[in-house]
C-alpha cells in the first residue's frame, strides 16, 4: 500500500468509527433542514422558493462541523510530526485528508439531500439538480475548509476561529451553488451558467486549498 492510500484508509476508518464524526454531519444536516419548516410555517410555495438556499446553508454548516479536528487530532497525538517526516509531499497528504473528509461527511450529505428535499416541497427534477450542485460544490467547501483547519491546528478553541476564517471564503460557492439550484427550480436563467462557474470555483479550490493548508501547517509546526 502506498503511503497516501494508507492515510486515506486510516482517516476514513477513524471517521466511520464511533466518535469519528462522519454521521454527525448528516444528522446535523437533517436536524437543521427539518427545523426550517417548523420555523417558516406550512407555506409550500415559500418552502419551495427558499428550499435550495436552506439545503445549501445546512450543507455548508454540516461540512464545517468535524473539520476543526482534521489536523488538530493528528497534532495533539503526535501523528502530524511523523507525517511531516514522511516521504509523501505535504500538499498531497493534505489533499488526501481532505478527500477522506469529503468521502465521509460531504458525500453522505449529497446522498441524503434529495430525501430531505422532499420535506421542502422540491419536485424530482429540482431535487436532482440540487443534488448535482451539492455534489460539485461540497468538495470546494471541504478544501477551502482545509485552510482554516490548518491555521487553527495549534489553537485550543480552533473550531470558532475556523468558522470565522472559512465562512467568508465560501460566499462565492454559496452564491453560485444556490443560483444554479434555484435556476433548476424556478428559472428564469439557464441552469448551466451558474453551474459552470460553480465547477470552476471547485476546481480552483481543489488546487489552492491543499497548497495554502500545507503552507499554513509548515508555518505552525516551526
Amino acid at each position: 500500500m502506498t503511503p497516501l492510500a494508507a492515510l486515506l484508509v486510516r482517516d476514513m476508518r477513524i471517521a466511520l468509527r464511533v466518535g469519528g464524526g462522519a454521521l454527525m454531519g448528516v444528522l446535523f444536516f437533517l436536524v437543521v433542514v427539518t427545523l426550517i419548516p417548523f420555523a417558516v410555517g406550512p407555506d409550500l410555495a415559500l418552502l419551495k422558493r427558499i428550499g435550495p438556499a436552506i439545503l445549501w446553508l445546512a450543507a455548508l454548516l454540516a461540512s464545517l462541523l468535524a473539520l476543526d479536528r482534521l489536523f488538530a487530532g493528528d497534532h495533539d497525538d503526535g501523528s502530524l510530526d511523523l507525517i511531516l517526516m514522511g516521504r509523501a509531499p505535504l500538499e498531497l497528504v493534505v489533499a488526501i485528508k481532505g478527500l477522506a473528509h469529503w468521502l465521509t461527511t460531504g458525500l453522505p450529505l449529497v446522498i441524503c439531500a434529495p430525501l430531505i428535499g422532499l420535506l421542502l416541497n422540491l419536485d424530482l427534477p429540482a431535487d436532482a439538480a440540487l443534488m448535482l450542485t451539492l455534489f460539485v460544490g461540497t468538495p470546494a467547501l471541504t478544501f477551502i475548509g482545509l485552510i482554516g483547519a490548518a491555521i487553527a491546528v495549534t489553537l485550543r478553541r480552533g473550531g470558532l476561529l475556523l468558522a470565522v476564517i472559512v465562512l467568508p471564503l465560501t460566499v462565492p460557492i454559496l452564491i453560485f451553488g444556490v443560483a444554479a439550484a434555484n435556476a433548476a427550480v424556478t428559472g428564469p436563467i439557464p441552469f448551466g451558467t451558474p453551474f459552470t462557474i460553480l465547477c470552476a470555483l471547485t476546481l480552483a479550490s481543489l488546487v489552492v486549498g491543499p497548497f495554502a493548508a500545507a503552507a499554513a501547517l509548515r508555518q505552525e509546526m516551526e
Binding site: 503511503p3 492510500a5 486510516r10 511523523l82
Partner: protein
C-alpha cells in the same frame, strides 16, 4: 554512516535554548543526551528530523542514501505516541508501516517482539501508557530505518520492558544502526557517548528550573548568560570537534 552536528543552535521564541552543540555518531554507536528540564534535549532531536528550524550550525549525514533526507532515514519516538484510540493495535501499526512505505507481511512479529501479540485486535484507546509506548516501539521494528531518535524512551516502561528495549537497541546497534536518546537516567546502553546540554548551568533552584520544555517564560527570569550553555562532548568519546 555517520551523523554529525556542528555548532548547532536552537532558538525558541527569539531566545537561545542551546548554542554551539556539536556531536558525531557513527554506525553502531549510541549517544545519550542529558540535561535539566528545558535544556533542549527534545528540541535537539526534533531539529535533527527537521521539525524545528536550525538557527545556526550544520547537520550532515555521511554514508546514508543521498536520495533521502535525514528525516526519511530516521525514526522519531517522541513524548506523544502517535496512536489513534479508535483503531486497533494492529491497525495502528499497519498504518504507520504503510505510511512509511513498508508492506507489512506479518504485523504479529513486531507486536510479539514488544509483548503486545495478544492485544492485536484491541482498540488502542484501552492500552496503558506503557503499552502505548511499546506499540510505538513496534513501529521502529516494523519499519527498518538506520537512525533512531528516542525521547525519554524508558519513561513509562516497566523494568522488564526497559530490559527488552535495551536488548532491541543493542540489536539495532549491532546491525549498523545508530541511536540518539534523550534521557534523565541510564537507558541500559553501556559504552554510549554522553552529551550534556547544561554543563555550565546554574544551580537548579534558580529561576525556571520547573519550566519544562515549553517554559520559555519561566526561563526569562534567569540571567541571559545561562541561556546559552556551551555544550561539548566529554573527551572520552573522542568524537568531538572533527
Amino acid at each position: 554512516m555517520r551523523l554529525t552536528g556542528v555548532e548547532l543552535t536552537c532558538q525558541r521564541g527569539e531566545r537561545d535554548v542551546f548554542a554551539g552543540v556539536s556531536f558525531a555518531v557513527a554506525s553502531g554507536e549510541a549517544l545519550t543526551i542529558g540535561g535539566r528540564n528545558g535544556a533542549g534535549k527534545s528540541s535537539l532531536l526534533r531539529m535533527i528530523v527537521g521539525l524545528l528550524h536550525i538557527a545556526a550550525g550544520r547537520l550532515t549525514l555521511e554514508g546514508g542514501d543521498p536520495e533521502l533526507s535525514i528525516a526519511e532515514q530516521a525514526h522519531y519516538l517522541g513524548h506523544k505516541d502517535a496512536l489513534k484510540g479508535s483503531l486497533s493495535v494492529a491497525e495502528n501499526l499497519r498504518f504507520w508501516a504503510g505510511f512509511f512505505g513498508v508492506r507489512l507481511a506479518d504485523f504479529r512479529e513486531p507486536l510479539e517482539t514488544v509483548g503486545l501479540g495478544a492485544l492485536a485486535r484491541l482498540p488502542a484507546a484501552y492500552l496503558s501508557a506503557g503499552q502505548r509506548r511499546r506499540l510505538s516501539i513496534a513501529r521502529l521494528i516494523a519499519v527498518p530505518r538506520p537512525i533512531w531518535l528516542l525521547d525519554e524512551p524508558t519513561s513509562t516502561l516497566d523494568a522488564a520492558a526497559q530490559d527488552r528495549l535495551a536488548e532491541l537497541m543493542r540489536a539495532h546497534l549491532a546491525g549498523g544502526g545508530l541511536i540518539l536518546a534523550a534521557s534523565h537516567g541510564p537507558i541500559g546502553l553501556s559504552g554510549a557517548q554522553q552529551l550534556r546540554l547544561d554543563q555550565t548551568a546554574p544551580s537548579p533552584l534558580v529561576g525556571g528550573s520547573w519550566g519544562g520544555e515549553s517554559g520559555g517564560d519561566a526561563r526569562a527570569s534567569t540571567p541571559a548568560r545561562d541561556l546559552t550553555p556551551p555544550a561539548t562532548i566529554p573527551s572520552s568519546s573522542g568524537a568531538a570537534d572533527e
